[in-house]
Amino acid sequence: MGNFLVAAKASDPAERIRVIQQVRALIDQIPGVRLRVQGDALDSAFGNPPQALPIEADEAGLTALQNAVGDLVAIDPDTPLHPSSVGSRRTNRTKQMAQNNTRPVAEKKDPTSTPTASSPAGASSPASGASSLPQAPIPLKAAKRQYLISSIGGSTAAALGLQSLPQVNLRDTIRRLDIDIVGVVPGLLPATLGALGSTSGGFFVTEIEPARAEALRKNVPPNIAIEENHRLGYGDPPMSKVDPRTSLSLAAAGVTQTFPINGPDRRERWHPDRRCYGPTCERWIVGR
């Protein structure tokens, strides 16, 4: 059995969706072929409705599928993804899984090699390819940060004279670069957007070491953007106007701390975020 990605070749988005829907129905009827991801997870990772299909197929099943769909689709080998790549956010549990994995995400095998099983157990098992694996466990690099990778589209692409990259192609590009995809924000379909000619490409959430992300930025095609994901604040308090020589001992500037707070009724009230602001942490404001 091998993993493959099925993508429609049509240039028209509506036609691509129609073809993929037909292939999806066909897969259920061909022995030796099955979808690797189902339901909401499929929509989350590949668009709603999906614009590509991740399948698992044996040789006979793959041949049967290729004969059935002819030239309408491209069926390419698919390299395994991290377990958390299907779904919107890396949970604590999946973080732990990643940390326990003796082969870190960044150490995936050569993407050009023949694909093998994509299960987490298979990926971490020394028996599944010991010669190409590191001899000792390598911890995940703590310095990794989340980056959003998108194809430049919309009015920005028009202004720059760039051709937008379909999401499937972007995903392939990211995988070829051996970047860990930890989430997908699918694009919206023209039918949803309502306006003629509208598109929304969506983007991939990835984890990359900052230095590598910086290098990638300089080397990816101009129609691909790599930007750091940022936490949003719900309102920072004003900048400090206190003498910067003042220093407080409790925390460094910008540190978020959590305290239980009692209300006038003596009952404990919870403020999840209490921030220390200013270069010297001289102001403590709650919930602003």
Binding site: L232, Y234, I261
Partner: protein, 448 residues
């Protein structure tokens, strides 16, 4: 919670008698520089710079209750109808049945406590802190911020007497993104807003970055499908934060009014003595500024709903919901959105942004701090049309309003001798505004 700061910081909780003993380490000759007392809900906090505190002596402070400040909040809460911000924006001068019916607003924030007496009409929400927005509890607001913003936009008193939000009849969809929100979660919420055919998204949030293309493209697609974004400019006192700085958003700065808060509060500390004050209004020190600021709105000591009560709060976070609510009223009741701009598309969004700017009264704090000024509804009182209760239009659809539009097609001469087709929209102040036909996306929402 009481905090006392000097070269060190000491903090503690008051006991049953209201006393707390704080041990503050002082350098020789040093003294306490700041006392901050956080009094949860129904009170203003206490914020005293250079308090006259002597070691070993009791220093007494008393938090002011919202219920005992009639000069600021008369007859609060039972008979208190409009906050100072709503009065400044002249919500009290439009017909009571202009209530935002038919408009769908998304509030992407910390959730909204719909057990609050003023928010019980909110029926729909998503907890975006959960994977795929499945499960969780959007109505559990651990922070209070979203509940506060919701009250400004849509507070609906059951008896018709207590505090009213701008658009109490608008349909509200709550997206809980805090604690822990990031750009990815925001983009997911925006996509869901498009699917739900939301008309206006209220964003009292931001990050200190200049732009993010992935989010911007998500916003652009949403705008093209008729979703408007009203976004808080930010409170760092520096450049406008993102996504307020996006050209697809309407960035809102904050405004304060002297006399609308007690002395020795955090709110008082937001007055910058180096800046001018105009008729008791001031531009607070925290408000972000820049060419992206479209308008300004009340954002200091805004009293609104809070989990289990009420709270005064300050920030551009409070200013943005004022404009969101006003935008909902315009979308629901202004004739242009029943005529030429009733279809959900980018032109409608741009017309909304332009109309808000056109009804704004300039104020002399500089355009980078206030944009076009303070949007005011009073001059539109005769123009706004109370609605038959109708649902919002879907993508590419039109609302089934039976009224004809008072918009007159015109052709204006362009600056280079060309002509630009468009429409003249009657305005009560400042003459008619010109909304270009087939308007593009350049300069969207910004103070151009």
């Amino acid at each position: 919670m009481v905090q006392l700061a000097s070269d060190g910081l000491s903090e503690g909780k008051t006991d049953a008698s209201g006393l707390v003993t704080l041990n503050l380490v002082l350098a020789p000759g040093g003294r306490a520089r700041l006392l901050y007392v956080d009094v949860p809900r129904d009170h203003w906090d206490i914020y005293v710079q250079d308090p006259d505190i002597a070691p070993g002596q009791t220093y007494e402070v008393r938090a002011k209750s919202l219920f005992e400040m009639p000069e600021i909040l008369p007859n609060f809460p039972a008979e208190f109808r409009f906050g100072w911000g709503q009065r400044l924006m002249e919500l009290d001068r439009i017909p009571a049945d202009c209530d935002g019916a038919g408009v769908r607003i998304a509030i992407i924030d910390s959730g909204a406590d719909r057990t609050h007496p003023l928010l019980q009409h909110i029926q729909q929400g998503f907890d975006a802190t959960q994977d795929n927005m499945i499960g969780g509890n959007w109505a559990q607001d651990l922070i209070g911020h979203g509940t506060h913003c919701a009250g400004i936009i849509t507070a609906r008193p059951a008896d018709g007497h207590a505090m009213r939000g701008f658009a109490p009849a608008a349909e509200i969809i709550v997206f809980k993104i805090f604690p822990g929100g990031d750009f990815t979660a925001l983009a997911r919420c925006i996509n869901r807003c498009v699917e739900l055919q939301v008309d206006i998204v209220s964003l009292s949030l931001g990050a200190s970055v200049s732009a993010n293309l992935a989010v911007d493209q998500t916003m652009e697609a949403a705008v093209r499908s008729g979703v408007a974004f009203v976004v808080a400019a930010g409170n760092s006192g520096s450049d406008v934060q993102y996504p307020a700085s996006s050209r697809f958003a309407m960035a809102v700065a904050a405004l304060g009014a002297q006399g609308m808060f007690p002395e020795n509060t955090y709110d008082e500390s937001t007055i910058d003595p180096t800046l001018p004050m105009v008729e008791a209004l001031f531009s607070p020190n925290f408000t972000c500024r820049g060419p992206q600021v479209a308008v300004t709105a009340p954002g200091v000591s805004i009293v609104s709903s809070w989990p289990n009560g009420y709270n005064p709060d300050s920030g551009t976070s409070m200013a943005a919901p004022h404009v969101t609510g006003l935008a909902a009223l315009l979308l629901a009741h202004h004739p242009i959105f029943r005529g030429q701009f009733r279809e959900r598309n980018a032109a409608r969004v741009n017309a909304l942004y332009q109309l808000i700017r056109s009804i704004s009264v300039p104020i002399a704090f500089g355009a980078d701090r206030v944009g076009a000024g303070i949007p005011r509804l009073g001059t539109l009182a005769a123009t706004l049309m109370p609605t038959q209760k109708q649902p919002a239009a879907g993508p590419g659809q039109t609302l089934p309003f039976g009224t004809s539009s008072p918009i007159s097609p015109v052709v204006l001469s362009g600056g280079q001798g060309g002509v630009q087709p468009g429409f003249l929209v009657p305005q009560a102040i400042g003459g008619p505004i010109f909304v270009p036909q087939g308007v593009g996306l350049g300069g969207f929402g910004q103070n151009t």
